[in-house]
Subunit: 206 residues, 2 copies
DNA sequence: AATTGTGAACCTCTTCACAGCT
DNA sequence: AGCTGTGAAGAGGTTCACAATT
């Protein structure tokens, strides 16, 4: 496949949500311009993004809401359930376990890992907390495909290394630190302070 | 000032963290190449980013760790404490209140807002929960400058509109929905599902 | 000898503009 | 007439490469 940019994928996610809402509204057809207006971008951008994957619209008419939703879901790989593991059961970890958006998008947290033995072997919301020593064993058992890393910054790299050894290829990192991983391993960062600092900069320089 | 890109600012935040760690290590001098290696980018990128704001290094020697840290802090506006409000005290809101990284970077949560009367008027970690009806009053009292929005998607736009009316100019939005705001109002999104969906896409298309 | 600071070259992403389809 | 799909143009961001400095 031709190389698709990260920003295109992020926008597809947004269109997907837009279409979700429009479907709920009962809107049958939608134009690239409508999608664009809702997301504060240009209609050419919407059409270009879609064009990398095929032709989904009808000239003169626009897109069928339900079909386009389905097709973007397919593109993004959301037509399956993803088995997700959560590493670190502190503040953030706990919030993420209860974050419904993940579940509704097909990301199911099947296992939790902790370093603190006192938290291990109990269950929260039906999900067992295992010690990180059992990383590979439990990953295999639940067929984990994506790891959410919600441990303190200084442990994050070691945690990723560990799970890479177990064969995990995709990580969502909440620790405010840069993580290195071998070619082919995907790391996405959710660095909440960076966004705040960006606000700080732009506020300071208005 | 010349237009500075968002990506430059995000990278500066990263360099700032890198320097934090190096300072703690006792490293006195550092080269753009060192910073680059730690963050998996090129040294030219590091130098170019810095060059927008002045000249901070010494040719042949590199940068003084402590000075550069201080200068980036100044650029990002982190030499002051920011008064931050938190809207929505559910899972995410609760986790963010206890997220130490914010505090150590100078972002202090001074007020919490809720829609649920039963949660109001109590205090958590010394921070009072006010009803969102009192948005402007409480914002003024605490001189709030940045709002963290952690409410369900369907309320997010209304919440932002409300606080824009109160004069708030900067928002960090955790709701998975696109927010519109007038010119000059800054909105940063922390959309955790979008990053997961991006992983889903790249995993599906390996 | 080492490393910065930066114009120029390069590459990537976005927008334009219009032919082509409904 | 209206809206898509897309090649071409434009804008913006990254890397190169080297003169300048320590």
């Amino acid at each position: 496949m031709k190389k698709i940019s990260d920003s295109t994928i992020k926008r597809l996610s947004k269109y997907y949500r837009t279409l979700d809402e429009l479907k709920a509204n009962g809107t049958m057809m939608i134009s690239s311009n409508d999608i664009a207006l809702i997301n504060s971008i240009t209609s050419a951008q919407v059409r270009k993004d879609l064009s990398f994957f095929g032709t989904f619209g009808k000239r003169g008419l626009g897109y069928n809401t339900e079909q386009l939703h389905d097709q973007i879901g397919r593109i993004l790989g959301l037509k399956k359930l993803w088995n997700v593991g959560l590493v670190g059961f502190g503040n953030i970890g706990n919030a993420l376990l209860n974050y419904n958006e993940f579940k509704t998008q097909g990301f199911h947290i099947k296992a939790i890992f902790e370093n603190d033995f006192s938290k291990c072997d109990s269950k929260v919301n039906g999900v067992k907390i295992s010690h990180i020593n059992q990383a590979c064993e439990v990953s295999k058992k639940h067929n984990l495909e994506i790891m959410i890393v919600a441990v303190p910054a200084k442990y994050a790299q070691a945690v990723v290394d560990k799970f890479v050894e177990c064969g995990i290829q995709a990580f969502l990192n909440f620790a405010p630190t840069h993580i290195k991983a071998p070619e082919g391993v995907l790391i996405k960062n959710e660095n909440m302070s960076i966004e705040l600092e960006s606000l700080s900069f732009f506020l300071s320089n208005k």
